[in-house]
């Protein structure tokens, strides 16, 4: 590439319209979030009536062991779900894109998408029945974080596969073939050539499945056991009598922590890049 900007819609239009669209999109995504952050400071126990400013819900939250342990459990399950989904999803996507012929391929492609199609109620219930009968035969797995993870992974695998497959399909196979012709081993081709080209897809798939797991209620409800209540389950069970703003407080804490992390990370990345640019410039001048 010769460093020329892509000539779409002309540069100025592209930049201005693009920024506006992104801003509008983020406004849509963050509108309810702003509302819920504001109401975390609401002094009234009723979520929709404003009763003055308070921090008491944050104080309550600190002593809410049920919520806090639910949060850590959710985080743990979501992390392992996302990692496993991306690995398995990558395998599955690879299979569907690269291997056009093996026994049971049609069935495989059907099964990969099927968890998307099954209503979550059915996925949860059928997995529960399966796991219980396995437990009767073998004595494990006991219901808990592990079984919730299995359910989430089933769903996560389907999502991750679709995302990664969409990227792999458009890859130019000649690049990989060229690497292979130059004597690279298959795993080298994969890690040095293919992986960097599908990096965005892997990151997207990881984030999607992490989020999916962090927010799931139906599957977790079916697959949880004593002492393994995830945060969404805690929140849903409390909703019967109406939520109080301490739930908003949890959400606010998550948002703030992640925001700080994102800002710090992008600042560090930007600084590293400036540094590199300076060094490159210096090196060029020196030569």
């Amino acid at each position: 590439m010769n460093g020329k900007k892509p000539p779409i819609f002309g540069d100025a239009f592209n930049r201005r319209f693009g920024k506006a669209w992104l801003a509008a999109g983020f406004a849509f995504l963050y509108l309810p979030i702003i509302a819920l952050v504001i109401y975390s400071f609401n002094d009234s126990p009723l979520p929709t009536t404003w009763g003055g400013f308070t921090l008491k819900w944050y104080g309550k939250l600190m002593h809410d062991t049920e919520m806090i342990s639910g949060f850590w459990l959710s985080l743990k399950v979501a992390f392992f779900t996302a990692c496993a989904s991306v690995v398995l999803g990558m395998f599955a996507a690879f299979t569907l894109v690269k291997y056009k012929r093996f026994t049971g391929r049609t069935m495989f492609s059907g099964m990969v998408n099927a968890p998307l199609v099954m209503p979550e109620v059915i996925v949860g219930l059928s997995l529960l029945l399966m796991l219980v009968s396995v437990q009767r035969w073998l004595g494990f797995p006991e219901r808990g974080a592990m079984t919730i993870w299995m359910g989430h992974l089933l769903l996560g695998l389907a999502y991750a596969t679709v995302v990664i497959q969409a990227r792999l399909q458009d890859l130019n196979p000649q690049i990989e073939e060229a690497a292979m012709d130059l004597g690279a081993k298959p795993h080298q081709v994969f890690f040095l050539v293919t992986m960097p080209m599908i990096g965005q897809a892997l990151a997207s798939a990881w984030l999607l499945t992490f989020t999916l797991s962090l927010d799931d209620v139906v599957l977790s409800a079916f697959l949880s056991g004593p002492g393994s209540t995830t945060m969404p389950l805690v929140i849903f069970s409390r909703a019967r009598l109406g939520l109080n703003p301490s739930v908003n407080a949890v959400a606010t804490v998550i948002i703030v922590v992640v925001c700080i992390a994102v800002v710090t990370a992008s600042y560090l990345i930007a600084r590293a890049e400036r540094q590199r640019a300076r060094e490159m410039a210096a090196a060029q001048r020196a030569s």
């Binding site: 693009g18 509108l31 099964m111 099927a114 199609v117 209503p119 695998l157 080209m197 992008s266 930007a270």
Partner: protein, 314 residues
Amino acid sequence: MSPQAVLTQLRNSKLLSGRSAVIGVPYVWLLVFFLLPFLIVLKISVSEMETVHFKDLLTYKDGLLQLTLKFSNYEFIAEDPLYFKVYLASLKYAAATTLFCLLIGYPFSYFMARAKPSIQPALLMMVMLPFWTSFLLRVYAWKGLLGENGWVANLLEWLHVDHLLLALGVIPALGKFMNSPFSLVLGMTYTYLPFMILPLYANLAKMDLRLLEAAADLGATPWTAFWKVTVPLSKAGIIAGSMLVFIPCVGEFVIPELLGGPETLMIGRVLWDEFFSNNDWPMASSVAVVMILLIIVPLAIFNKYQAEAQEARS
């Protein structure tokens, strides 16, 4: 072929060790965690239900092994218009949601993929972050925003959008936005938007920009280049995003319960009622099986033809 020759051939095939693991691991996982449970559902759908248990399909009577399958549920689905009507309604809402997600999400992902590379990861995180708060909270927040004197409700009224929505028949009355088809589709669009944006972004981010330059060099206007080059190149992303939005939306249960109106009955709720209100697991399983087959079989066939076509080309 002699065993020796087979071995040599195996050794020569480029991705042997990788290949069997790559296919095998997800395959086995799906067999255990999808196919096995699905067979259970299939079995329940042809069983007779007692209070909470199911009669054995295989019975041993008078020295004969008998297999009793009950297909009346499937007949009932075909006869009773409720299931069909509700299924159509679910398809309709899912299609509307997919369309809106695409309309908002495509330009969004496009511009995200064209943003400075250093801020792209941050943008990606920012798209997902709202969904790390609890689902219920976001729903309640939307209830507040769309309810009487909510910010969004006031804005829509000020813009007189409610007249349009009422004319379309998606809200019950002027100024009443909650618990209507409108709030349902809005809620689903909001919830599923990242599932459209992320695959599209992953696809658009690595697009070969030289093709666009080539188009421009050949005298294409930006608009033509966009429609003739960018959109076709991102076809895989569009298909993936639409799949991730449309398919789960059809069976969605929680959002219609919380944001939908009384008339927006979707198939997820019907399944729930069959399972629990009616305590009729065979019926519910039958509905689920029909639903899955209606979507999965065409999808698998499509995939098969696509694979064959690609192979023929190369």
